[in-house]
Symmetry: C2
Subunit: 541 residues, 2 copies
Amino acid sequence: MNHPAFYTTESWQSLKNQAACFDTGEYHLRVLLNDHNRFDRFSIKLEDFFFDFSKQRMDESVFQNLCRMARELDLPARFTSMASGGSVNRTEKRAALHTAARDFSDRYITTGSMDVKKEVQKVNRKIRAFTEDVHNGRITGSTGKRFTDVVVVGIGGSYLGASFVNTALGYGHKRKMGLHFLSNVDIDNFAAVIKNVDVETTLFVVISKSYTTVETMANLNQIIEHLQACSIDPEHHLVTVTSRESPGDDPSNPVLGTFHMFDFIGGRYSVTSAVGGVPLSLAFGFDVFEEFLRGAHQMDLTAETAEIEENPAVVAALVNVWNSNGLGYNALGIIPYSTALSELPAHIQQLYMESLGKAVTAEKNPVSYKTGVLLFGEPGTNAQHSFFQLAHQGMAFPIEFIGAVKPGFTGEQELSGGVTNHQELWANMVSQARALAVGRENPEDLSRHFTGNRPSSTIVIPDLQAFHIGMLLSFYEARTVYEGFILDINPFDQFGVELGKKLAGTIRKEMAQKNANPAHSFHNLDEATRFYLEILLTGEL
Amino acid sequence: MNHPAFYTTESWQSLKNQAACFDTGEYHLRVLLNDHNRFDRFSIKLEDFFFDFSKQRMDESVFQNLCRMARELDLPARFTSMASGGSVNRTEKRAALHTAARDFSDRYITTGSMDVKKEVQKVNRKIRAFTEDVHNGRITGSTGKRFTDVVVVGIGGSYLGASFVNTALGYGHKRKMGLHFLSNVDIDNFAAVIKNVDVETTLFVVISKSYTTVETMANLNQIIEHLQACSIDPEHHLVTVTSRESPGDDPSNPVLGTFHMFDFIGGRYSVTSAVGGVPLSLAFGFDVFEEFLRGAHQMDLTAETAEIEENPAVVAALVNVWNSNGLGYNALGIIPYSTALSELPAHIQQLYMESLGKAVTAEKNPVSYKTGVLLFGEPGTNAQHSFFQLAHQGMAFPIEFIGAVKPGFTGEQELSGGVTNHQELWANMVSQARALAVGRENPEDLSRHFTGNRPSSTIVIPDLQAFHIGMLLSFYEARTVYEGFILDINPFDQFGVELGKKLAGTIRKEMAQKNANPAHSFHNLDEATRFYLEILLTGEL
């Protein structure tokens, strides 16, 4: 399928002209919000998900043009192509089938000659059986003791998503096992994680698609030595999540179990595959993981089939492009008003910035417009007491507020100032969005002057149950993919990480030579690199 | 003292012209780095601190002009004025004396009629005595059991700094007590913290300058009820860190102890005051806290007295202003290659964005240039597998890499690929800075083309000992203050947080009225606010 570039569409031409007007007072959010129909018009209410974009800097005509552009770009059909196994990862000539990992519909999906859902379901059945065996004590550690804790050894896409969901589910679901993450190659990360578990009752889940990820292999190495030093047989304490026929899938290298991951699901989209499935099912049980998948699937269906105007993922993607390429913003803040969602910003940061931080189109031509912006965030109300000074009076950037109607806590809450803590939390979330939008004039004292006109969206889920965490995750995945489609960039590759890895390989080799032969000289290296390696070796600055 | 605005100086005029040249290939970092003297020239080596700015986009002439500008603006003298008690917080007509909290010199400092160091030392002696009593079991909880854990109840400046340092010190020092933080008003934050401690052996440290901070008071309320429900006498489990004569300093409201904070030390600069002193001394002992203070003081001395060219805090501030106002960057990434420093980015995000996210000068005139940029970060190598795709190929932003020559871990490390984990960590840190700077041409395949020319600095401390964590903290405080001086904005106020608080107060009142009288109607509120309050009350989306 050929699609026009977004900036060549008629609708975008109109939008460019409209963007220029938005600097005038007439289009200030304070004015736009006077329209009493606006909140109803610019919000999308699904059964279990609410998306409010009424505080974005747009009017009816901008919104219509954005939706028209979405149709010109044939967005939902491209989502369907992705979800059906089309080669949407064009630079790597692959499908992108994270949605298949949770596709409970009767859609038949193939890539190459593989019946994708059959394979995915096979892995999931294996996860269910294995994790039940661990919970029931049919599978134990090498000394016969039941496993109590799980350590995931993985980095990036093999870590951030599962870690976010693990934290989130901990507030609405009963935990069956402790779940820890060893991601960084920093030896202090290893030491901190090991200190917190009893290795005799700990299961290590090594996650790496290629099973060659440097950090993960180095940490695995430390773990195996440590287990042996503790007289624990590693074979009975390890499982792997990896590609078929990777070194982690080698029967000569025995482990308790191997769960396959597939090249049509990229790391940052892999939470609903075995990458999330194994650790999350161990932590909470497979049934909870399955509810999480069902929620993700529910949002996938909406993302694929809902009308543009009623489709939160599409509208949110259009809003982002309008904000970056129309109004010129360079960043996006993600502020969950929920402790349970405290790791959401770090996960979405990876998902969004790795997917959209590109300089070429999907056909490898240079782009002439803005691609992904900087994304960061912290939970509210904490963020209000941290960087919101800048959000209100410094460089403006759009924000997404996220709230859960019900907290995980179900006990009695004392009232303070006549309200519960949870009500106080929401009073703040709602107030921040409004304060950013309307501002407050104070010409007498400019240090207390608030320009306002700072855009935000608000996302609400009913509670912290797995189903709704799944919807939230899928919303962000679909939005990211849609933004990639609009910008005509490939949201599934990540060639930008290669150069640093390559240079690290060179330095590693030099260092290894020096370790083996103290007479080895670093004369091939530049001055800075030489200096850093030398202080590292002497241990003295 | 009157100083010219930075943009009116002759040196800045030259710099503006030079900035324009830096878009040409001649000034690409790849070219600049060919100069073998550059690393030596553009790095500052102190006894225990190393600052490398050789990968910043500047040449000798730019550096000279920046230093000339620093002299024209009389920067070090302004630091001296601050450290001596001058009213540098001009909008609030106060001193800013965080440096006095760790001033071991014989400088005599007054503000109003107060002998500042005498007061600070009095508080510190009280902290030492109290924490020793807790450690020795002379002070116990209400059932006579020794305290094992501390929960800090505080938010923003009463939380982020101490939390960062607590994590950092955990890798190089023996812990005497567990230290936990309850910051967010979210009831799930309360539930998660309480679940992790045994209240019978837990000491709660309530930190709030005014003792009216909404979040902190609401959490204190939950705690007191919970303690009473557990038949624990709150009086024997609470201490307060607050202003003299605040409600937390009221003898009719008895607690185990009260430690004073002063209005001349703002929250985000308060880690070296009682705000950090009480929790960190409980966690590690007062001696460790004092070492931390000594390190901070060491860097304060350098920041105040070193020549511009040899002054890391001043040079780093100049680099920031060159990057934001000269070269046009909008963000700064903070990437510590150290698990121990994992909370540094969140703390510096607050310190920097709350200090410099301003729209008016210190005299309350509107600014016509860029003030603070967006600051965010995650530890490396994690960040490499997360958002570094964008850092290499998407929107460019300067980065600060931070490393410790020695990790906290002192055991044997297995070799992987011939190197230790710590060597691998450093190989990556060094490689990323270089890859970002030099890039790699690949005209054949633009998806693998790296433009390079992406600036970074590298900061190195010798190890994770308290003294060096103190130096690092003070470096960032001094750099922030200097950047405020250059930009002629007040880095000590935060009026931007007021409007949101005010609106939250209105909504709280409406909600409280509804709680008291279910017939209360929200007709005074806008549609959006009404909707959010209604779903919250019914508990249904």
